[in-house]
């Protein structure tokens, strides 16, 4: 059975439907990538899985339970973690406090969890007493991803984790994401660097106007001339 199954999602914000009958299946421990043109509904699709979009229709099942419309707090407990694209750290909290917020629902000692995150992102340990607002863009992104890792999620959802990063930092971020995947954590990523993302993806979804246009393995999508021409810039 799949880790996450979204069926026929239709909905959006206000009165407008952005998603029009979107269905996705995500396997445990896999890297799944969503690509598509601007305005295709990529971020909205991810938010819908996390209960942040008003749905008129459709259902989301995660790890055997119906989570349609569940509160984020519940989803985090169940093993989902979501990192928004922008404004994804608490600027006035220190790095370590930011990380602690990721495990807010946990009673008890957070030190082993913190240690695991510091293993992934060594620089954060150095900066742990510094307010997150003072960090560089790449380091903030590490804080955001690290915070999501505090609950040891089954599925880590990243909305454009490399947006606004320099090419070198972007490569580092990709490497970190793959390192997290090696720990057995499933990854769902919305990415604008479609080629680079599909190259590491077990599965890719190409979205257009609120529904799935293509779905296949990352390699197959890269090889598909139609996808290549319309969505990967030739």
């Amino acid at each position: 059975m799949s880790l996450l199954e979204a069926r026929d999602l239709t909905g959006g914000y206000g009165g407008m439907d952005i998603l029009k009958g979107l269905s996705m299946t995500i396997e445990a421990g896999a890297v799944t990538v969503i690509i598509g043109a601007n305005g295709a509904g990529k971020s909205t699709a991810m938010k819908a899985l996390f209960g942040l979009v008003r749905l008129n229709q459709g259902s989301v099942h995660f790890d055997g339970a119906d989570i349609t419309g569940a509160e984020p707090e519940t989803l985090v407990r169940r093993g989902m973690a979501y990192v928004p694209q922008e404004r994804n750290v608490f600027p006035n909290l220190t790095v370590e406090e930011n990380l602690e917020m990721g495990a807010y629902t946990i009673n008890g000692d957070l030190r082993p969890r913190l240690a695991r995150v510091y293993d992934l992102f060594a620089i954060l340990k150095e900066k742990r007493r510094q307010p997150a607002g003072e960090l560089s863009g790449g380091q903030r992104q590490m804080v955001a991803v690290g915070r999501a890792m505090m609950m040891d999620p089954k599925l880590l959802m990243l909305d454009e984790p490399t947006a606004g990063l320099s090419p070198r930092v972007m490569d580092e971020m990709f490497d970190s994401v793959l390192a997290i995947n090696d720990l057995g954590v499933g990854i769902l990523m919305v990415e604008q660097n479609a080629r680079q993302a599909l190259a590491v993806a077990d599965k890719g979804y190409v979205l257009a106007s609120g529904s799935v246009r293509f779905e296949d393995s990352g390699a197959a999508l890269l090889a598909n001339p139609e996808v290549s021409e319309s969505f990967l810039g030739g």
């Binding site: 996390f50 707090e73 979501y82 994804n88 909290l93 406090e97 917020m101 807010y104 629902t105 609950m151």
Partner: protein, 296 residues
């Protein structure tokens, strides 16, 4: 010099402590719920009158009545939020602001209904001040007010920096949407913000009534300097509110000192104008306040 300390500096610190206690709640509520709580002064009044019931009714000393007033007003604040503010939270902010005006009127009317409209006080008769070092005169109540305010401020600092809930409160004040998707229990954070804001307001109200006398408008009359303190310190910044409260309280009292010649610099009648003036100047020249808070 001693006249300055006894009659201007100490009263200024006392008034500043009271404003600080009110402003902490106002600024934290704004940080988390994004609305100016106009009923906060009346929560202070409520605290003052609840304490009066313990003092006049049961015969408690005022200081012993204080914790009861704080707990009762803290719980009442959560109830008020559930009944009058939470239902409007999804709509435009202005609705909650107007609702808080309504709540302010309701609290004041209830106080008039239950406790009457006459001016009264906790202790009858003249209280002699303590005389320290032969010349420093300080009223016992002033010592209590300043000392307990220090205790509350330290407790709040430890709460905000050490406890999970306090950190969650700061996180939510930074970014409420992110706090929610991170898995922070935002409902609990909101409830605790009301408990703390309400409790601090009650303490401020009791202190205000200890310092002067009780009347049903006692807290409402303090709302302007309290807002001024919150703006001065930076909206959403509890430490800023403390500094802002002290600055406003001191400025109000020291503006009456005869700095030049023998007449007060500013007639005591214009005291509240000082707070207003500071607030207007801050909003024009540095709207983020001393501690870089949110711009209104």
């Amino acid at each position: 010099m001693l006249e300055f300390v006894n009659f201007y500096l100490i009263p200024g610190l006392v008034l500043g402590s009271i404003y600080a206690l009110g402003a902490i709640g106002v600024t934290m509520l704004f940080g988390i719920l994004r609305f100016a709580h106009f009923a906060h002064g009346d929560l202070m009044s409520l605290g003052a009158y609840v304490a009066l019931s313990f003092v006049a009714g049961i015969g408690f000393p005022t200081i012993l009545a204080l914790p009861f007033a704080m707990v009762i007003v803290a719980l009442a604040s959560v109830g008020i939020d559930r009944a009058f503010y939470r239902p409007f939270r999804k709509g435009p902010t202005i609705i909650v602001v107007i609702a808080s005006f309504g709540v302010a009127l309701m609290i004041r009317s209830l106080i008039q209904l239950f406790w009457g409209v006459e001016i009264t006080s906790y202790v009858q008769g003249i209280q002699r001040p303590l005389v320290l070092f032969d010349s420093l005169r300080i009223a016992e109540r002033h010592l209590w007010i300043i000392a307990l305010t220090c205790v509350f401020v330290v407790a709040m600092h430890l709460f905000l920096t050490r406890s999970r809930l306090g950190k969650g409160m700061r996180a939510m004040s930074d970014d409420a949407d992110l706090a929610r998707v991170t898995g922070i229990n935002t409902r609990a954070v909101i409830a605790w913000t009301w408990l703390i804001g309400g409790g601090m307001a009650a303490a401020g109200g009791v202190f205000l009534a200890m310092d002067t006398q009780l009347n049903p408008s006692i807290g409402w009359n303090a709302i302007l300097p309290i807002f001024a303190a919150a703006v001065l310190g930076g909206i959403g910044k509890p430490y800023g509110a403390i500094v802002g409260g002290l600055v406003i309280g001191l400025a109000e009292e020291l503006s009456n000192y005869p700095w030049f010649g023998f007449d007060p610099l500013l007639s005591p009648g214009y005291k509240s104008g000082v707070a207003f003036g500071i607030m207007v100047l801050m909003l024009i020249f540095r709207p983020s306040g001393l501690f870089r808070g949110r711009v209104l």
